[in-house]
Amino acid sequence: MGHATLEWIYVGVVIAILTWVGVEAWTGEKILEEVPEDAETIKVIGQQWLWTFEHEDGSVEVGKLTLKVGKTYKFEVTSKDVIHAFNIPSHAILIDAVPGRVNHIWMETTTPGEYLIQCREYCGLLHYNMRAMLIIEE
């Protein structure tokens, strides 16, 4: 077995593994990307250094977000001043809040409880403290 054969086998194996990774990731993202039609919209507004949530019925919450269990929600995320990132670590939700743009992401609520909402893009002095609470109610 010469130099070249060994090398080609190796490269082939690496490419095969990466192809598998890529396909896996692509199909996963495709499933997660599509927003279900029955999703309820919640406007999320980030500003230095607090989160504001606006429900479909017009009620506004600051620093906490109350959701019902077993429903689908679509977050429309934007920012008033600098770039923030809307993050719920326990639900793998992450999307940047960019001023002048509306980004969206969706999730289903499954388990009631209290979860952490935080900012994950550096936004200045109190970035570390830019937290809110997610309350999922029965």
């Binding site: 996963g28 960019v98 743009r101 952490l116």
Partner: protein, 507 residues
């Protein structure tokens, strides 16, 4: 015997020299000074994160400035000058020319670094090293942001001058009897990174100017209130700084190609695949920049394209690993400090690369992005791989620079400290990221897991800090008082070392 041992020269003669070894010495000393300064900042950050709440700093603004200056220093004042230092020492020797092609440009490129560094260190910018607008436009205070902008601008010009010099030296001043395909792979790595520098730096230079005029209120390129788009800056920035990752990495790869065959006493397994892998990375490095921005609301098509671009970088990187292992296989390994550091670097290179693949795998990016996972990932690359190989190469080049030899036992101690410390701190960073700890935070939730993780990470960081401090102190002492090296073959590997006589003619 090397000049410095036989006949010490006055300082000004080295400072104002344009000879390639003198400029290289200046680069080398600058880079080592800045790894100590940047390292001190890293220790400050890890100490602050020992406990939740204020530990040694009362002011979060100070913390923000510390991590910004730490990042800027390590990238632009440690890694880049070190690459220029080794390039300046070795490129003229390896292409058999008497000096760099443009000695004066070379000196100018070096002398742009001190003013750039002074601007960065006096300014204490607080916007994070990537200075995302609108924060850096509307929120960053006073002259510090402008000083950072101009500091980086000067360092960018310095990089471009250096790159032009390397390209001309390699392609035009190479000895006519020496075909390019017979030169060392280190020459190839410098050639490839120089081309990448020429293509990559200009977009960032433009972005810096736009950032500056935005700050002055003259324009609104990136300010949404003036109709601009902050994401445009991120595209320009990462179009420069994703290739820049390879500009940092490839010279380290080239250094590993310099060390491994010599210390294994075997020729490189496949020279051709090394060159091909460099060439592929040069092109693919420009095709994956937006994987830093997957969470900014890119469309699904964009995300797919950049995920594929990122995954495409992995085969050529792994070709290098294969090449190194195959070179060592069946050799006779002289396990001196340079080889130990290099093997350690290769081990962590795989881990860092695997972490990178996980980062780009789309649903996972939303778990890991902007958490400590990312911090662990790129530190594993920059500290674990690049700096480890650089330390190894520092030991390797040490007899050539000083004419003296370091102490192998102390070198082994530094290797053990730095290697274990690196593994502890950056593995812990990955785990902290999975626990959901965002990066760049001054304070974290007082959760027992997070506290424990941060404290283990800090202990690892202290090990690295002690290791680097011993390394630098030992080399400083050995440079003055070490025993004289056998300049034909200082490591006893039975191969010709670099010709010390190139240091003789000064101009």
């Amino acid at each position: 015997m090397v000049l410095e041992v036989k006949k010490p020269r006055p300082l000004w003669e080295i400072l104002f020299s344009t000879h390639h070894t003198d400029v290289a010495l200046l680069y080398l000393i600058t880079s080592i000074v800045f790894i100590l300064m940047g390292g001190a900042l890293a220790m400050t950050i890890r100490t602050e994160l020992l406990t939740p709440g204020p530990t040694i700093m009362d002011d979060p603004a100070l913390f923000n400035r510390v991590f910004t200056v730490h990042a800027t220093t390590m990238l632009f004042l440690w890694i880049l000058p070190f690459i220029s230092a080794i390039g300046n020492y070795l490129i003229p020797i390896l292409v058999r020319y008497k000096d760099m092609a443009y000695p004066r440009v070379n000196a100018v490129a070096y002398w742009m670094i001190p003013p750039g560094a002074a601007l960065i260190w006096l300014g204490w910018f607080d916007g994070g090293w990537y200075a995302y607008p609108p924060y850096s436009i509307i929120s960053s205070p006073g002259p510090s942001a402008e000083m950072w902008i101009f500091g980086l601008k000067i360092l960018g010009i310095s990089s471009i001058l250096g790159a032009i010099n390397f390209i001309v030296t390699i392609l035009k001043c190479k000895h006519p009897d020496l075909p390019l395909m017979k030169t060392s792979l280190f020459v190839w790595s410098i050639l490839v990174t120089s081309f990448m520098t020429l293509v990559a730096i200009p977009p960032f230079a433009a972005a810096l100017i736009m950032l500056y005029t935005d700050r002055l209120g003259l324009s609104g390129f990136f300010d949404p209130n003036a109709g601009g788009d902050p994401i445009a800056y991120q595209h320009l920035f990462w179009f420069t700084f994703h290739p820049e990752v390879y500009i940092f990495l490839l010279p380290a790869v080239g250094m590993a190609y310099e060390i491994i065959p010599k210390f294994s006493r075997k020729p490189i397994f496949s020279y051709g695949s090394g060159v091909i892998a460099f060439g592929i990375l040069m092109i693919i490095g420009f095709m994956s920049w937006a994987h830093h921005m997957l969470a900014t609301g890119l469309s699904f098509a964009e995300k797919t394209v950049f995920m594929i671009g990122t995954l495409a970088a992995a085969p050529s990187s792994s070709m290098h690993i294969f090449n190194w292992i195959a070179t060592m296989w069946g050799g006779r390994l002289k396990l001196a400090a340079p080889l130990k550091f290099t093997i350690g670097g290769i081990m962590l290179f795989f881990s860092a690369g695997a972490g990178g693949v996980v980062n780009t795998t789309l649903p996972l990016d939303f778990i890991t992005h902007d958490t400590y996972w990312v911090v662990g990932h790129f530190h594993l690359m920059l500290m674990g791989t690049i700096s480890m190989i650089f330390f190894g190469f520092t030991y390797y080049i040490f007899p050539f620079v000083t004419g003296r030899m370091y102490n192998e036992k102390i070198a082994n101690v530094t290797f053990a400290l730095i290697f274990t410390g690196t593994i502890i701190v950056f593995t812990m960073h990955h785990i902290l990221g999975l626990l959901g700890m965002p990066r760049r935070i001054y304070d974290y939730i007082a959760d027992p897991d997070l506290i424990l993780g941060n404290q283990i990470a800090s202990i690892g960081a202290y090990l690295v800090g002690i290791g680097v401090a011993i390394l630098v102190a030992h080399l400083a002492i050995a440079a003055a008082r070490g025993k004289e090296a056998n300049m034909e073959d200082p490591f006893g590997i039975g191969e010709q070392y670099y010709d010390y006589r190139v240091k003789e003619p000064h101009h």
